[in-house]
Symmetry: C2
Subunit: 338 residues, 2 copies
Amino acid sequence: METTQIRLAERPVGEPDDSTFTTATETLPELEDGQVALAIRYLSLDPYMRGRLSTARSYATPVEIGDVMVGGTVGEVVESRFEGLAPGDFVLSYSGWQTAAVVDGRHVRKLDPSVAPVTTALGVLGMPGFTAYAGLLEIGRPKEGETVVVAAATGPVGSAVGQIARIKGARAVGIAGGPEKVRALTEEFGFDAALDHRAPDFKEQLKAATPDGVDVYFENVGGKVFDAVRRRLNTYARIPVCGLVANYNLTSQPEGPDQLPGFLGQVLTQSLTVRGFIQDEFTRSHGRDFVRDMGEWVRSGQVRYREDVVDGLENAPAAFTGMLRGENFGKLVVRVSH
Amino acid sequence: METTQIRLAERPVGEPDDSTFTTATETLPELEDGQVALAIRYLSLDPYMRGRLSTARSYATPVEIGDVMVGGTVGEVVESRFEGLAPGDFVLSYSGWQTAAVVDGRHVRKLDPSVAPVTTALGVLGMPGFTAYAGLLEIGRPKEGETVVVAAATGPVGSAVGQIARIKGARAVGIAGGPEKVRALTEEFGFDAALDHRAPDFKEQLKAATPDGVDVYFENVGGKVFDAVRRRLNTYARIPVCGLVANYNLTSQPEGPDQLPGFLGQVLTQSLTVRGFIQDEFTRSHGRDFVRDMGEWVRSGQVRYREDVVDGLENAPAAFTGMLRGENFGKLVVRVSH
């Protein structure tokens, strides 16, 4: 059995380009006891992967040059020497950017396609959904009537943040790029207000959309959106920081003035809470509740999701780079094989 | 009865100077029912007062031009129409920079000079001590064996932070300016390590003093100390922010590069918690425990304190400006009258 792999060829400076990745084909090893062979059906593309391309200090070790790019996948078992998994079963695993893999059966999670489409395990019912759930409820802690703002709001994290905020009785304000996404925020995801960060009067729109200020800013973007939203924060506002896509391709520190002292001053005078997190931290404390709550909300339609499916593993690099620019619309997934 | 008052004459741009304050004498009104007349014995000088001179957005309303400068005081009751207070009683009140005041008896707290010197109500057993206690225990949450770093460490907040950290089993590293203060940190306050931020090799010293990194940075200074300490932070480090003295006299944003995006990136990749606070927030939740714990620790000598007493209200402005430069050594108090 063969696997086609996308490997890291060269660390990008700034935006990844044609020389960043390379493709190779490899023969998979024979199955050992406890292992399963997977045909990968779907690969998840997520912003955190940009961090794995870099050697900058981070929460995870970088992908080494020559290694297969990491990533969550949904695979179909084609051969099994692991009790409890049989050919035809769908599993969530962390098999990376490739078409097939041999993995330890203990390191995969079996999916039930009758409960929800298997791709949701990569999105609303998976890591991005859990990022929204744990970050918003544990760090953001929105109270009834408070205002929650989130950017990249049609993405898998942002859309869940807004909808969970509303379930908790808060007002949800979503920020996205372009009229189509902005329309989806109110019409499809039920946000109370939606803004286009590309609008020339974005700051004024933000002000109008947050008449009572902002109590929770769920930060997954950074950059100019952060600069604008922080002027609207209320005393005791909470800022869960789960991503900073706007900064990921930065090659140097931005020009001055240095806004850090002013921001710390704001943290002080407004008693702000700024808290970075990776969802793993909350698996033990919130994982079970997430599975129960989010499963229920998705079933009942209280939480909707949108997927952006790209066909073919060979298109993963371009789709990934496009995502960092905000070109996807919903959870970006690569259909690797049928 | 007359009171000599120091009033705000002009908002300072940068460091307060001779034109910032003015002195005036006023006759106090006759006592009404429920009021007491106080001869002010001690006035507390604290960094937060710099914020009151400015109209920049803050947690408190600024002092108006012409108003008496605000501040905590220890006064002696000279006349009383309030049940429970009699001439000769010492009380804590917020009477400001003046020699005498008429205040509502319900707004003062009676002090017991037999328990501790009355000036401690302005320092280790008062607002600064409570800032250290609540900020460290509620936000910093040092665990046994962790490393806590604090600057302005011979000040009333910093010295309490270090000593409480040690009581909780953490390693305390103090930063101060000048050899005399640095010596006091280990010899008088029992810090595990002490550093001079003026030393040319300060960064290297900091590295050597924090071999296991920094788990809690109690931020009351900002500026270059913050820049250095943040390079030493561990994953999940906590930064209670109670003051930024280094920035208080800044007249413009510092030159670039802009370090804010990089700092937010650090918050993200290291899962940092940055939390601004004013001690008031924790009065209800931690006030009672503070009185019990800190009283006990001061009595037992587990928490020591140092006071820097300046004679005469007329010297308050210069002492205040000096404090913002770090010239005081211990809790700065003005002896207003005997």
